[in-house]
């Protein structure tokens, strides 16, 4: 930050609240924890993509030395073993049937990991193989085998009306339409049309899924987990075990990365059931190989066409999106809804028709992945923007500028108008690239953007405690997954209460202590939890004013607020002085609270539009097809950066994740089997993939509904990177590739085909 901030604490890059713990190795993650008398679980996984379980014989495993118990689908009597926040289609361990290679079929609970691991081999399972449904085309066939042939109940979320079961392999269908698409295409001057494919990806949070569950004899269930959304996990656990909410306690220590992959319930019901049948605390630590078999991102095939008039003004977009959702719904119903919304991009479209299907297949379940459907659909969206710019004879940046929605304009009927300066952001990114100098031969450049309806459903509750000694606690159910919730929330409380940052302590996610926060994702923490903390502080201050008025014997509305206290004429009282005199007892505290819900300023959805703006300059090695990054620029339109350095770090982190999918990341199935589910074979960005020039810019127009006008960030920049690379490749070599990642092989083949065409 070069400009001087008008704020005392926020909008400054203060030290991370979790910093010293994380650089000294003392930060405790769930994987580091042991609890007394703890047993260990290991999971037996299905070798088949689709099969009936005829029988399981676990007797030899049960009598193996060091084995406490074995959990199978037959041992769950008394539980409600199906969970899922959207659709309760997911059994905590396979019941009667397996639906993907790697699905948990049994869990051995042992005195130690080795005993449990050894006993896995002594479980014999008889399967009756069914026809596997391995891709969306097979799943959609009229006579396709059904992956789920029973009806399921809805989960914690209301509003999903298309529950699966019964007759189709469709998990969720979403339709978005306005205007008259047919007429618009008939009148169009230019049309871009094509089929795009966004690959199956793995988030690779470096800490694999892990949980410790302790089901005590009094019926209290305590779970430590690497979960992003502890309150959603609590809901599912309460339903599985028919417990009241006050008897399920979910605690989230530090989490080693999430990127959406740890959102909602994962292994917690399985681990809790292991504790339930063994009467012991149980820890289940998955390996990275097992994490590959737990959650992935939805791959997406998009058939799309987009039209403009003869002046290059966008007229219409029509798309059919097929998401490969895998074996269970997880969060894919939400991914499909978001994909259908986000495919429109940040542009003015008078006519739109989108159909999105989330489709069950016998593959690893897909769920949230950074950007939640945004990356999947920004790829076709921004690719066709460049295709149309060329057809209309426009510069791609100019073409975007003339079609981008301005602040206050609506891009979706009924949704919140755009709360960002999109044309300004795109212009800045283009200028930043230009400042890096003229483009070298063999290079290509592109600037792409996206707008995502972010923030998820706004239900966020928070408390602050103001103590008689002037210290303050913030109680937040927002999980610290690295995004910095432990660092951005305390400064907001310090700013509001007029105290130094050192006086504020953050109390993190523990469902027995912190109030309900729907989720930690969709870039919502700063905007929603930040706003809740701000409102909770103001409520505490309002209480202090009433106390001070009584103590000073003056009307409360005559009190003037100043940093850290109130004043009336010459008389001033700080918060500690007020509490001290009011209670006449040391050690007291008061509680300020905030209950945010979808009302007032948060009535309009989305909570905010998350903007992603990325520019790249790529170097193409035409001999090998290898693309490397010369320049990467990002523009983060975040309203106000509560913590500028961390906001920038989020932007480049998201862009780098996008770079991975853009250039090398892809899960590959050969038949039923995931072929590259290890980190030896799944290539993610490394140090050497860092661009030679990186420039990050924050735009702070204070136009969000978060505290001081803040909006979320951290996911936006992932979305435009794939198309940005594809467009830059087109600029560099004249080949248009509609399938990510742009591996050297794929690029080389396209270059050869182009050469062959030129010779014809």
């Amino acid at each position: 930050m070069t400009e001087r901030s008008e704020f005392v604490v926020v909008n400054h890059s203060v030290p991370r609240g979790d910093g010293v713990a994380k650089v000294t190795g003392s930060a405790i993650y769930t994987s580091d924890m042991v609890v007394e008398h703890m047993a260990w679980a290991k999971v037996l996984r299905s070798p088949f993509a689709h099969a009936r379980i005829v029988s399981i014989d676990a007797s030899a495993a049960r009598s193996h030395p060091g084995v406490v118990n074995v959990l199978t689908g037959d041992t769950l009597k008394g539980l409600h073993p199906y969970y899922g926040h959207a659709v309760k289609d997911h059994p905590l361990v396979a019941i009667g049937k397996v639906r993907f290679v790697g699905e948990p079929v049994a869990a051995v609970i042992g005195e130690n990991e080795l005993a449990a691991q050894e006993a896995l081999e002594k479980i014999s399972v008889e399967y009756d193989e069914l026809v596997p449904v391995l891709d969306v085309d097979a799943a959609l066939k009229q006579d396709a085998v059904l992956i789920h042939d029973e009806d399921y109940a809805g989960g914690a979320f209301r509003g999903f009306d298309d529950f699966p079961g019964g007759s189709r392999n469709i998990c969720q269908a979403v339709h978005v339409e306005w205007g008259d698409v047919k007429a618009a295409f008939a009148a169009a001057a230019h049309i871009a049309e094509g089929e795009f494919y966004f690959p199956m990806v793995y988030a690779y949070a470096m800490e694999p899924y892990v949980a410790i569950a302790d089901f005590d004899p009094k019926g209290q269930l305590t779970v430590y987990s690497s979960a992003q959304h502890p309150f959603m996990v609590r809901h599912d656990l309460a339903e599985v075990f028919a417990l009241p909410l006050n008897s399920v306690r979910v605690i989230v220590p530090f989490v080693g990365g999430g990127y959406g992959s740890k959102s909602y319930t994962k292994i917690e019901p399985l681990v809790a059931a292991c504790s339930w049948i063994s009467g012991r605390p149980v820890k289940l630590q998955l390996s990275v190989e097992e994490a590959f078999l737990t959650t992935r991102g939805d791959d997406a095939r998009v058939r799309m066409r987009t039209a403009t008039d003869s002046n290059g003004k966008l007229l219409a977009r029509e798309a059919v999106i097929h998401l490969n959702t895998g074996a269970y719904a997880e969060n894919s119903p939400m991914v499909s809804r978001k994909a259908a919304n986000r495919i429109v991009g940040p542009y003015r479209f008078p006519n739109v028709k989108i159909d999105c299907l989330a489709i069950y297949t016998n593959t690893v379940p897909a769920s949230s992945y950074r950007g939640l459907g945004g990356a999947q659909v920004t790829f076709p969206g921004e690719s066709q923007m460049d295709e149309l710019a060329e057809k209309a004879g426009c510069n791609p940046v100019q073409f975007r500028l003339q079609n981008l929605a301005h602040s206050g304009e609506s891009i979706h009927p009924g949704l919140r108008p755009i709360d960002a300066d999109l044309p300004g952001d795109v212009r800045q990114a283009a200028e930043m690239l230009e400042r890096h100098g003229p483009m070298s031969p063999g290079h290509g450049r592109s600037v792409c953007c996206s707008a995502s309806d972010a923030g998820a459903h706004p239900v966020t509750l928070a408390m602050v405690q103001v103590y008689g000694d002037g210290s303050v606690s913030v109680l937040s159910g927002s999980t610290e997954i690295g995004q910095g919730s432990h660092t951005v929330l305390a400064p907001i409380a310090a700013e509001e209460m007029g105290v130094t940052l050192e006086k504020v302590r953050l109390v993190g996610s523990d469902t027995a202590i912190t109030l309900f926060e729907r989720s930690t994702g969709a870039s919502r923490t700063t905007t929603l939890m930040g706003r809740a903390v701000q409102e909770a502080c103001r409520e505490a201050i309002a209480q202090c004013r009433v106390m001070a008025a009584e103590l000073m014997n003056v009307p409360a509305d005559e009190l003037i607020e100043e940093r850290g206290g109130v004043r009336h004429g010459d008389m001033g009282l700080t918060w500690p002085e007020i509490l001290d005199r009011y209670f006449q007892m040391e050690g007291c505290s008061i509680v300020g609270r905030a209950y945010l819900r979808r009302a007032g300023a948060l009535k309009a959805v989305p909570v905010f539009w998350e903007i992603g703006v990325v520019g790249v300059d790529i170097a193409l090695d035409s001999e090998t097809g290898r693309i490397s990054l010369d320049s990467l620029v990002t523009v983060g339109d975040v309203g106000l950066a509560i913590h500028p350095a961390m906001t920038e770090s989020q932007d480049i982190g998201a862009a780098t994740m996008g770079l991975g999918v853009g250039l090398f990341e892809e899960l590959i199935y050969d038949g039923q089997q995931l072929m590259n589910g290890t980190m030896l074979e799944y290539r993610v960005p490394r140090f050497s993939d860092l661009a030679r020039h990186v420039e990050l810019k924050l735009v702070q127009n204070r136009d969000g509904v978060g505290p001081y006008g803040a909006k979320g960030g951290g996911e936006g920049a992932v979305n435009p990177v794939g198309p940005c690379l594809a467009n830059a490749l087109y600029q560099a070599a004249g080949v248009r590739i509609r399938r990510l990642p742009l591996t050297p092989e794929r690029v080389w083949k396209a270059l050869q085909e182009k050469k062959a065409r030129a010779l014809e």
Partner: protein, 157 residues
């Protein structure tokens, strides 16, 4: 079997089983959980510790191999008074981590580089650090932190 080695400057003698990896022994028996386990295949670098000053992936290194040798983990980096190592301070100053899971291994790998090459070029840093993955930061802040620590450590000498 008995294992005698020097751990973070202290002579250490513990009972281990022959099959145990160094990461397992450090985490479970010595409770040094700053040693993180992720890929278990020498790809990610999160389990990096120093053995006789050289970086090793503790996840695939048999604990028995460190008999009579010097092992340094992230917990042994700050000095006795608790003053942080220049790399630790530089990682703080540059916000060179988010979730922090890769950080101990990242710092230990960087220390091994700066111990050998006090003034590395950017290309040398990138090459040396290419075996340490970070999924959060996009690496830029880590690069800057290592450059700052390099300067700091040369001034201190």
């Amino acid at each position: 079997m008995k294992l005698s080695f020097e751990l973070n400057g202290k002579p250490t003698q513990i009972e281990i089983e022959a099959r145990e990896t160094l990461a397992e022994v450090l985490r479970a028996r010595c409770r040094l959980t700053g040693v993180k386990i992720s890929c278990e295949a020498q790809v990610c670098g999160s389990c990096t510790v120093q053995v006789d000053g050289l970086p090793v992936s503790a996840c695939t290194y048999l604990a028995y191999e460190v008999r009579g040798r010097r092992v340094t983990t992230i917990e042994g980096l700050a000095d006795a008074s608790g003053r942080l190592h220049p790399l630790q301070q530089a990682f703080l100053d540059h916000f060179a981590f988010q979730c922090g899971f890769c950080t101990p291994g990242m710092i230990m790998a960087a220390k091994s580089l700066l111990d050998e090459v006090p003034d590395p070029t950017e290309a040398e840093i990138v090459e040396h650090m290419n075996g340490n993955l970070c999924r959060c930061t996009g690496y830029l802040a880590i690069l800057k932190a290592i450059q700052q620590a390099s300067k700091e450590m040369r001034v201190q000498k």
